[in-house]
Symmetry: C2
């Protein structure tokens, strides 16, 4: 099934694409629905399509040769993955799996690469997307090297608070704790210890609901970067 | 001082640029020499120029608000840094410092951003550069989440071996052990323990010289990714 123009228009790098180009992409692309747990791409394989998550959640996982796996990122719509592999024509460094029932647009990789060789505004829009992807990974490297698991959890929770200057907040974890542990680069038992540590700075958990009783105190403890553009 | 056309031509994203464009960039850019330890850009500040390392070595460091610092990457020529910040017009997520006396080309950021809005081949070449930068960061996240410090050190040493199928090798560490520890995401004492662990798989160190007596055995231990394009 074709994705249709309005769905394509929701993809960040196609927001300002001319109708002619959107029609062309619509003709060659597919809209697919996938089940929770379905594998979408496999680490080490060459990309044949660009995946764009339209609805649902997808996890990007890295696997060591001994089978150890780590969650690198959990994506929410609308996000293309993994653009860098498609553009460089190099094998995926991460595999992707649907966390829940999801809807995706699949754009064939060779045609997409041909388009960016001639369509200047598209190339420019993609350059912005990859640059932001890069900054997302730099933030993870920074966090893994500079912060404890409890501080990483604190930064993650603070990034979920919608208002800049709220003193308290009640948030819902967007995915289950096993995935959250992987995303934060720690084991499940370390995540539990991290939540226990954060109780001391006013963080209370009831299942997937987390209450932040003292945001200024949590900020002092977790020390999020001031210029962090990852806030949702 | 102007960098000159042949220097500009050595920058990966300018390799195939037309003479007209190179002349234009030459007119607005500067070639500068810096001393070891000199600060080149500061985390949190907006980029005003794109730095390109032509000769020497530069470290990219992240700093937490409490002053804790971590080496994210050590760059060797010819490499632009930090392209993603320049393209997105967002503050640097990392600071940069010369590790040794270095030579750099500085290209003013606003003019560069104006050029990529109209010069299709330049935009495309930069897209490739940022995509490869992204993959470098993904590899770090993978390594930090999946491998022990000794395995990360083993992978690092294997990447320094020039020949694909050598059984033994003698390599020189390209920078001092404090930087190496930071790059691998561990403290100096953990790096010493990692070297001690690797002795068991035939790795012998004499200062900055490292002898790998049994590369197949080291590979089995460190499990480098097969499709790793980071090999120098």
């Amino acid at each position: 099934m074709r994705p249709g123009i309005s769905t394509l228009r929701s993809i960040p790098f196609l927001e300002r694409a001319p109708a002619r180009l959107l029609n062309e992409i619509d003709t060659i692309s597919n809209l697919v629905d996938v089940h929770a747990g379905e594998e979408l791409c496999r680490q080490g394989e060459p990309p044949t399509v660009l995946h764009v998550l339209i609805d649902g959640q997808v996890s990007l996982c890295a696997e060591a040769p001994d089978g150890t796996a780590a969650v690198v990122e959990v994506l929410r719509p609308v996000t293309a993955f993994v653009l860098a592999a498609v553009l460089t024509e190099l094998p995926y460094l991460m595999g992707a799996k649907a966390v829940e029932s999801s809807r995706l647009v699949l754009i064939p990789a060779p045609q997409l690469r041909a388009m960016i060789r001639t369509e200047q505004p598209l190339t420019l829009a993609m350059l912005g997307t990859v640059a932001r992807d890069f900054r997302g990974m730099v933030r993870q490297v920074r966090d893994l090297k500079l912060r404890t698991a409890a501080q990483r959890l604190g930064c993650y929770l603070l990034a979920q608070v919608p208002s800049e200057d709220a003193a308290t907040a009640r948030i819902r974890l967007p995915f289950e704790k096993g995935l959250l542990a992987g995303r934060l680069g720690c084991r499940q038992d370390s995540l539990s210890r991290a939540f226990a540590t954060l109780r001391g700075v006013g963080v209370e958990t009831h299942g997937a609901t987390v209450v932040l009783h003292d945001i200024p105190r949590l900020r002092l403890f977790a020390m999020p970067d001031e210029w962090d553009e990852s806030r949702k």
